[in-house]
């Protein structure tokens, strides 16, 4: 799942080098540089890729503190 999320991040950022640079501990805002519009785009892509639905109202920015934490969050979402 993590590799697929990295590919989606790279797609949102339009930066192929991210595939090799993003690690478990990368902060999605501080290290990857996703802004909030890009994060919404990433979430929409993640929803599509994994058939899940994110609740935007309750989404915590702490889920973005590392790729591993974001992956765990996505993995914990119920499949549609």
């Amino acid at each position: 799942m993590q590799d697929r999320i990295i590919r989606l991040i790279s797609q949102v950022k339009d930066d192929a080098t991210l595939v090799a640079r993003v690690t478990d501990s990368s902060h999605l805002v501080d290290d990857v540089g996703l802004d909030f519009l890009q994060l919404i785009n990433l979430i929409l892509l993640v929803e599509e890729e994994f058939s899940v639905q994110v609740d935007f109202e309750s989404f915590q920015v702490q889920h973005l503190s590392s790729l591993a934490r974001f992956t765990d969050y996505v993995a914990g979402l119920p499949r549609e």
Partner: protein, 449 residues
């Protein structure tokens, strides 16, 4: 000369927006809202020696001393207009933080403000939000603002579409007011390529969504439909997502009597859909705009806005498309703007024969930032702009870097430093930014990308 009072809330659209409108998906980010609130410090750039700057939080003393030392003279409030910590909570995508006018109208600060604000001075806000006239009345300030319903109207994306029609320029946008039309019009646009959904009161970096797939459109439709079923109203602008070569903006002022004065044209280096940097328009761009009659169009736009009851500041966003075609009217912001601040700093720098570029760096650090220490180190490294230095950094804000310090101790502090890089040539900008990053690193502040 009449003294002026500068103050402002930069997330103006959130205060004009009707509360019963459905929203696009957004994420709650209280920290980002606190950064935006502290951007009011930048309004010092408009001040003359007799003017007053009112900021929600008292400006940093060392920063103010520096600005005074390099020639920006202004009076500022020596007290916070912030009460308990629960005041600055924000909802997802919206805001419940008080605007500067709600703060200035708060009984707790009225005595100090009454002593600080010279009676008869003219109120010059960044944006004329609800409560501006009330504040002017309370403190005996001069103000002549258009009615709020006019200000609201001219700031909507729907009004920009109407304006394109009236100016007889291409208008690829359409307003949708039902979930069904969002879905159907969206699907039709998607057949021709990606398109944008814009909140009627969206600003760059917030309230706009690019839709590239049918699945993403369905998700947005579902999200909006959920809000409609709980009583919200639909009003979005849909338009093709146009591949652009560059962004620029034009700042102008409409006088109460209807005269329109073009102030400046600034090129924008945006990060996607959000503000990145503002720099002076190149001679090539100005020559092209002159050739196609862009400024005449701006003057006609100003006259039409005046006929609709508006007067005051305006910033129009424009762009040049990939094929070289001009899109003269992307959005209308009937308020002051970052580019107008840039222009004000430029006027100051011109006296030294220097060029400026307004931008920011996103920062992260642990613990408290020693802002006076940052200024001191910038100075020691000969990077802090002063009259006798050819290039350097002119920090425009300080509190925007420190907003997270009051939040949870275990979380790092995330902020932004707004600044002007000063140089003799545009090429020097990159090296100045690199040097700034190294100085901040020495102060324990990491610049994030």
């Amino acid at each position: 000369m009449t003294a002026r009072i500068f103050c402002g809330t930069f997330e103006a659209e959130a205060y004009w927006r009707e509360t019963d409108l459905a929203r696009l998906p957004s994420l709650m980010d209280r920290n980002a809202s606190r950064v935006v609130e502290a951007m009011d410090e930048m309004l010092f750039a408009f001040c003359d020696a007799s003017d007053c700057l009112v900021t929600a939080r008292r400006m940093d003393d060392a920063h103010t001393e520096y600005l005074h030392a390099i020639g920006f003279a202004f009076h500022r409030n020596q007290f916070d207009l912030v009460g308990s910590a629960d005041e600055d909570t924000s909802e997802a995508g919206g805001t419940s933080a008080p605007s500067i006018f709600q703060r200035m109208d708060d009984e707790r600060f009225s005595q100090q403000l009454a002593a600080f604000l010279p009676e008869g001075a003219r109120l010059e806000p960044f944006a004329v939000l609800p409560g501006a006239s009330q504040v002017a009345q309370r403190y005996g300030l001069a103000a002549a603002f258009p009615p709020q319903e006019v200000i609201r109207r001219v700031n909507t994306k729907g009004y920009a579409l109407e304006m394109r029609e009236r100016l007889e320029i291409p208008n690829p946008g359409v307003v949708v007011e039902e979930v069904r039309s969002l879905s159907e019009t969206g699907a039709a646009l998607l057949c021709r390529g990606p398109f944008m959904v814009k909140d009627d009161y969206g600003v760059s970096g917030k309230g706009n969504q690019v839709i590239e797939t049918a699945r993403a459109l369905q998700r947005i439709v579902r999200y909006v439909a959920g809000q409609v079923s709980s009583g919200k109203r639909v009003r979005f602008v849909l338009e093709p997502y146009l591949a652009k070569r560059s962004d620029f903006s034009c700042q102008f002022r409409i006088e109460e009597g209807g005269d329109v004065t073009v102030i400046s044209v600034q090129e924008l280096l945006n990060n996607g859909l959000a503000f990145g940097a503002s720099c002076s328009a190149s001679p090539e761009l100005l020559e092209m705009l002159d050739r196609v009659g862009y400024l005449n169009l701006i003057e006609r736009m100003g006259s039409l806005m005046h006929a609709d009851g508006y007067h005051g500041d305006v910033c129009v966003d424009s762009m040049i498309l990939q094929a070289g075609e001009l899109a003269p009217l992307v959005e209308i912001n009937a308020r002051k703007s970052m580019s107008l601040i840039k222009h004000a700093v430029d006027r100051y720098l011109a006296t030294y024969g220097r060029l400026g570029r307004l931008s920011y760096v996103s920062t992260v650090n642990h613990g408290r930032i020693d802002f006076p220490g940052v200024l001191e180190l910038l100075d020691r490294e000969e990077l802090l702009f002063t009259a006798n230095r050819a290039s350097g950094v002119l920090p425009l804000t300080s509190r925007t870097m420190c907003v997270g310090e009051t939040a949870r101790a275990e979380e790092p502090n995330r902020g932004k430093l707004y600044l002007t890089t000063v140089s003799k040539t545009p090429e020097e900008h990159g090296s100045v930014m690199g040097a700034l990053e190294r100085v901040l690193e020495k102060c324990g502040v990491r610049v994030t990308h």
